[in-house]
């Protein structure tokens, strides 16, 4: 799942611009702070003091570290574009990314970043339920800020090993009071997913970020919810690597004979329809099966609630309204 391109290869592939059309940008590490046990927050500024590009909640940047490129969700205040902040958990089994941030990096260092870009877009809704596991809190912070600014109804359930390990927990409670439900595992046990998710709610989106096992259980509960409510971002233990493709990929359409690029903020269905290719769809949320499309080749990251595990493994069809190319698969060939 996790690929770690080296810096040289990345730069070579990218030329002077980033892989994704963004400039690889040199930034200065202005501050390093311990915001919780094992969690270090980096505050980054541009070299010339200019503002960073506009970004939306859910966005992340690549940190180009020696030998590693790592993706971290932005968790700085949305309105303040003079700096970017990411928070990095130090993990034992780290393959280098988080160790470097925790041990090798010093204030004043210049590093390169790529982005921001967004693979976890924040969609407008009347109500939100946010669920964060551990360092998964980071992309949720700007979402809370945006939901609050728009006057939406929201709640956050936030779990972690212990209170001391839960970054930003105290300030969240101080600011938002009982809308924050904390679940330090050593005190109260795991997040009460049954209580939160057993009863589906209308007009409420669920945004969840955390370790894979947590997301699996959440996905399971949300199968009983209306289509399209659940939005997740996965990360592997070492860092906030998006498990799915966070890059544009190509879709070759065998019947139509064209190739379409799917950008990170688009679904395959949207990209293909934008080219005037017709695909039958109904729920557009991965639950009804209407848009099922035969996959001729390529590896799919399935995000629907219809295919069984076996069917997903087999990989010969996908729901184009939600599913995408898997990380490391630049092209899907579809029977469209």
């Amino acid at each position: 799942m996790q690929t770690i391109p080296d810096t040289a290869a990345l730069a070579a592939e990218a030329g002077s611009t980033g892989r994704f059309g963004h400039e690889l940008e040199e930034v200065v590490v202005e501050r390093l702070e311990e915001v919780a046990e094992g969690v270090r927050r980096l505050t980054l500024r541009t070299l010339d003091g200019s503002e960073f590009a506009r970004w939306e909640p859910g966005a992340h940047i690549d940190l180009v570290l020696p030998d590693h490129v790592r993706q971290y969700s932005l968790c700085s205040p949305l309105a303040d574009r003079s700096r970017l902040q990411v928070s990095v958990l130090h993990t034992r089994d780290s393959r280098g990314g988080s160790r470097y941030v925790h041990q090798g990096l010093a204030e004043g260092d210049v590093i390169r970043i790529n982005g921001p870009r967004n693979n976890f877009p924040f969609v407008d809704s009347r109500k939100y339920l946010f669920i964060a596991g551990g360092i998964g809190i980071t992309p949720i912070l700007p979402m809370i800020e945006a939901a609050e600014a728009a006057g939406r109804e929201w709640r956050l359930a936030y779990g972690g090993r212990s209170r001391a390990s839960m970054a930003f927990a105290d300030e969240l409670v101080e600011r938002y009071g009982d809308r924050i439900l904390l679940f330090p595992e050593d005190e109260v046990g795991r997040i009460d997913l049954e209580g939160l998710l057993a009863l589906p709610r209308a007009k409420m989106l669920v945004y969840a970020c955390g370790p894979e096992p947590l997301l699996r259980v959440i996905e399971d509960y949300c199968m009983g919810w209306p289509p399209g409510v659940l939005h997740t971002e996965r990360f592997v233990a070492a860092s906030l690597d998006a498990g799915a493709s966070s890059e544009p990929f190509e879709v070759e359409l065998t019947q139509t004979g064209t190739t379409v690029t799917v950008t990170p903020d688009q679904t395959v269905l949207e990209a293909v329809e934008a080219q005037g290719v017709r695909v039958l769809s109904s729920c557009r949320g991965g639950i009804c099966g209407t848009c099922e499309t035969r996959v001729v080749s390529g590896e799919v990251e399935h995000r629907d609630a219809i295919l069984s595990e076996d069917e997903k493994q087999f990989g010969d069809s996908m729901m184009v309204c939600v599913s995408r190319a898997a990380a490391g698969c630049p092209k899907l060939v579809l029977d469209l």
Binding site: A198, L199, P200, A202, L280, S282, G289, E292, L307
Partner: protein, 402 residues
């Protein structure tokens, strides 16, 4: 509910959607209601009527404010028992969640692949027969025969007594509309038919390989209660026959009346599924049902008190020019009909949707192969039904390909 008051802030109309005239041609009334406001009070029935796409969609997807457990008919079955135990259609979370999840693996893409293979031969056989015959009745000879054979086979229903399926479907759906003579007629043989259906849903009366048996396996795994398995098999049998018959009939109806669209389809048979989708939008088989408000709420600025019955017009929403443009009444294969609410939307969106689509499309594909032109040879006779839209008779000439 009795008509005790007329809310002042809402347009109140004396129209009755359940008259013979309005059932035979519902669209003039739909237009009137749509243009009268986002919500209209129907004096005769003491309920609110919602016909615009925006609001039908809103209510279908807001299952908290507009519940299903109040029943899809005019009575509030939370207060007054219905004629049968509530189905998955008449349930809210968490009961609904359990049942819906139970069905998720039963009707899956791999099931559908298997079913398509099972369904295809009879479509070919039937198309061969009717294309050779020339003069046919689109309903009796095609639309009814096809689903009545392949669908109960897929569920694993015993061969005897299948003539009860249509009367049962007629009871189930008519009860979603007004308590009138049409409904009463559908219930004439009610008890016997309902008893046969419930009996047929029991495990020992189903084959071991059909969808019915698959539902019982879910009960074996402890994921649903045995009585829920009976209810889910019953739901398949009641929801999966009449609607598909009308789906096929209404597709044929539109294609027969739009020869230029049929030509397009012949030239590009892969458009069949879009033709089906457009026909489902334009002549939606399931036209109306009720929801019940659970809280004081509002529709387009009109206050709706808690425990009100709200009659949703999917058929009208699917022709709302605000959503579909000025040519919303036109049958057009090139239109993107995606988002129509013929199968509902949200939590209760039809779980049998892929089966229905497959049946209609396969039948259509088989006809495209063999039929050069479809010509109406007389008026189609509307089926008189409270909430389903379709035809009882549809004389057609099928001109076979040379």
């Amino acid at each position: 509910m009795t008509v005790t008051m007329t809310p002042t802030s809402v347009v109140s109309l004396p129209d009755d959607p359940f008259t013979l005239e309005n059932i035979s041609n519902p669209y003039p009334l739909h237009e009137k209601l749509r243009e009268a406001g986002p919500v209209v009070w129907l004096e005769k029935h003491g309920c609110y009527a919602v016909t615009r796409y925006e609001w039908v969609y809103e209510i279908l997807t807001d299952f908290e404010s507009y519940c299903s457990s109040g029943g899809l008919g005019p009575k509030d079955i939370r207060k007054e028992a219905e004629w049968r135990p509530p189905s998955i259609l008449e349930s809210d979370p968490p009961t609904h969640t359990v049942m819906r999840r139970g069905l998720a693996g039963v009707i899956s893409p791999s099931t559908m692949r298997r079913l398509r293979e099972q369904f295809a031969p009879f479509a070919e056989e039937l198309a061969e027969e009717v294309a050779g015959r020339g003069e046919v009745d689109g309903i009796v000879d095609i639309a009814e025969r096809y689903p009545l054979k392949v669908f109960p086979d897929a569920v694993g229903l015993r061969p005897d007594g299948r003539e009860n399926l249509l009367p049962y479907g007629s009871m189930v759906f008519n009860a979603f509309g007004a308590d009138n003579d049409i409904r009463a007629a559908a219930f004439e043989e009610g008890e016997r038919v309902a008893a046969w259906i419930m009996d047929s849903c029991e495990r020992e009366n189903l084959t071991t390989t059909g969808l019915g048996a698959d539902i019982w396996k879910v009960a074996d795994e402890g994921r649903i209660e045995p009585q829920q398995a009976t209810l889910l098999v019953r739901a398949l049998l009641s929801a999966g026959v009449d609607t598909t018959i009308f789906g096929i009939g209404n597709t044929l109806y539109n294609l027969a009346r739009h020869p230029e669209q049929w030509e397009k389809l012949k030239a590009k048979p892969q458009l069949a599924k879009f033709a089906v989708d457009e026909a489902l939008r334009l002549e939606s088989p399931f036209q109306m049902f009720h929801r019940t408000s659970t809280v004081d709420t509002e529709i387009g600025g009109v206050h709706i008190p808690a425990d009100s019955k709200v009659l949703l017009f999917m058929g009208a929403a699917n022709r709302d020019p605000r959503k579909w443009g000025e040519d919303a009444d036109v049958f057009d294969l090139d239109r993107n009909a995606s988002g129509h609410v013929a199968f509902g939307m949200g939590l209760h969106q039809c779980v049998g949707q892929p089966i229905a689509r497959a049946e209609i499309e396969l039948m259509l594909q088989a006809l495209i192969k063999r039929v050069d032109r479809i010509e109406p040879t007389g008026e189609a006779t509307p089926w008189i039904h409270n909430v389903l839209r379709g035809f009882a008779r549809m004389p057609l000439r099928l001109v076979p390909k040379a």
